[in-house]
């Protein structure tokens, strides 16, 4: 298992952002769905070793991120695209990707080729020497994806990766996800249900910091059948049905 989370919690003051999450997953594309404020970004930041959990146990790629040396090893094998990725406006696309390849401690001799491959993978080859300040939002997002995959990560964490991409780019991105998921664990946090249906082998739905559903996209779709739940597509109806059921249980308890 590349990710093992046991009873993970994270609290910000009085807000319980992550509430007792347990999860095990290996290679494949894993979709993390949920409404805004469900705790997806906090969970992703914990797995990215950026945010320590308040309690619980976490093992990534068979290692303990609490130990300095093991955390370093995890980070060398990690790709992370934060929800709000800042950019260095004076950097070119190639310089930006190279910067993070070096910070991931890739062997310097491998860096130029890895940078070129990552930029080509996201289709930014014709803008590789363009300054980041000259790029559109979608192109910047693709530059962010390029830095995340430059080290051929074993664990790839993408927070809202398709934000700003046009439909054609999103379709191409889903194909890239399926390709990456054959050899790595890819976690995609999104509120776009159709991305999950098209690219993910497994899906978890979060609400109020808890995982309220875990299964395949087909199983999520099945939850919505015959319920009359809102949604334009079968998967959306499953999403709505699971959320409604989870909230009614919570309301009944309180």
């Amino acid at each position: 298992m590349n990710i093992e989370l046991t009873d993970l919690t994270r609290r910000f003051g009085r807000t319980q952002a992550v509430d007792g999450v347990s999860l095990k997953t290996g290679a494949g594309v894993f979709g993390l769905l949920g409404p805004n404020g469900a705790g997806k970004t906090s969970l992703l930041r914990i797995i990215a070793t950026v945010l320590p959990p308040t309690s619980g146990r976490i093992r990534l790629l068979g290692r303990d991120p609490g130990a300095y040396g093991q955390r370093k090893e995890i980070r060398r094998r990690l790709g992370y695209l934060p929800q709000n990725l800042g950019y260095y406006p004076g950097f070119t696309v190639a310089e930006f990707v190279e910067y993070f390849a070096l910070l991931k401690e890739m062997p310097p001799g491998r860096v130029p080729r890895a940078v070129a491959a990552a930029i080509e993978h996201v289709g930014l080859g014709d803008r590789a020497r363009a300054k980041l300040r000259t790029l559109s939002g979608g192109m910047l997002r693709r530059a962010g994806i390029a830095q995340a995959i430059v080290n051929e990560p074993e664990l790839l964490l993408l927070d809202e990766p398709t934000a700003g991409l046009d439909p054609e780019q999103r379709m191409a991105f889903r194909a890239l996800l399926r390709d990456l998921g054959q050899r790595a664990t890819v976690i995609v946090s999104t509120h776009l249900v159709e991305d999950v249906g098209a690219a993910c082998t497994e899906v978890a739905l979060m609400d109020a910091g808890k995982i309220v559903f875990y299964g395949t996209p087909d199983e999520l779709t099945a939850r919505g059948e015959g319920t009359g739940a809102a949604g334009d597509a079968p998967l959306e109806r499953g999403y709505s049905a699971v959320l409604a059921a989870a909230r009614s249980v919570t309301a009944a308890r309180s």
């Binding site: 260095y88 993070f100 910070l103 130029p112 080729r113 491959a117 080509e120 191409a172 194909a175």
Partner: protein
């Protein structure tokens, strides 16, 4: 992103597809990536190469040369301020360089690293090269550069030796204060404000206590308090950037 997911890496030209004139089994994708790698390759400058060897980390060296307060514009601005101080010292006899240097260095230290200063700061925190190490290397480099600029300005202004070197110790304390404030609050501006106001209060306080304007930098009795204060601030900065515990 038209070719995204079907990278040129995977495109292999079938044997014989290029005819008799073309070499068989040429992987055009790999050829293109190799060409692109050479074309897009960035040649590090001499400073980055030296830093890479000294630090034994190309990533750390790259992070060092991208320090906002080590960029040319910032260095020129610092040099101009200190040059103006040297000119004022020559004109009035008051050692303004000694008073300016700690403040200029404190601003540089506060603007060396952190959220708001590094656009991709959150991403940097997930890197194998630790952000604490980046902060340490950048802070030391900024301090060293500002010390060198200050010493040059002091020497040019012809200040007394006690004053020329006397400000190095208070500069350490003021820089440590700015660093501690910037890391605790995660705000470079707060760091600058803390450093500047701390230094102004010290200079004016010592002057009000009976010393002259230069007493804050020339008094030997203040050396130990400055160093103790710097050590406390450094400890605070170290704690504020500690490696998160409780991950497992």
């Amino acid at each position: 992103m038209s070719d995204l997911g079907a990278g040129r890496d995977d495109q292999t030209v079938p044997q014989g597809a290029l005819g008799d004139a073309g070499p068989p089994d040429v992987d055009l994708g790999k050829v293109w990536i190799s060409v692109a790698a050479q074309v897009w390759r960035r040649e590090p400058g001499w400073l980055e190469r030296v830093a890479g060897r000294a630090l034994r980390s190309p990533g750390l060296a790259r992070a060092l040369v991208t320090t906002p307060s080590l960029l040319l514009g910032w260095v020129i601005a610092s040099a101009v301020v200190l040059a103006a101080g040297a000119g004022a010292t020559l004109g009035t006899g008051t050692p303004y360089v000694a008073l300016f240097a700690p403040a200029v260095a404190a601003a540089g230290i506060a603007y060396a690293y952190g959220p708001g200063i590094d656009p991709a700061w959150e991403l940097s925190q997930s890197m194998a090269v630790s952000d604490r190490m980046v902060l340490l290397v950048r802070a030391l480099a900024v301090f060293g550069l500002n010390a060198a600029l200050g010493l040059a300005a002091s020497a040019a202004s012809g200040a007394a030796a006690a004053v020329t070197f006397g400000w190095l110790v208070p500069m350490t304390a003021v820089c440590a204060l700015a660093l501690a404030a910037a890391t605790v609050t995660r705000s470079a501006n707060v760091g600058v404000a803390a450093g500047l106001s701390g230094w102004a209060i010290t200079v004016l306080g010592v002057r009000a206590g009976g010393g002259g304007l230069t007493a804050a930098v020339a008094s030997v009795s203040l050396v130990l308090p400055y160093l103790l204060f710097a050590a406390v601030c450094a400890a605070v900065a170290w704690y504020a950037t500690r490696i998160p515990r409780g991950m497992s």
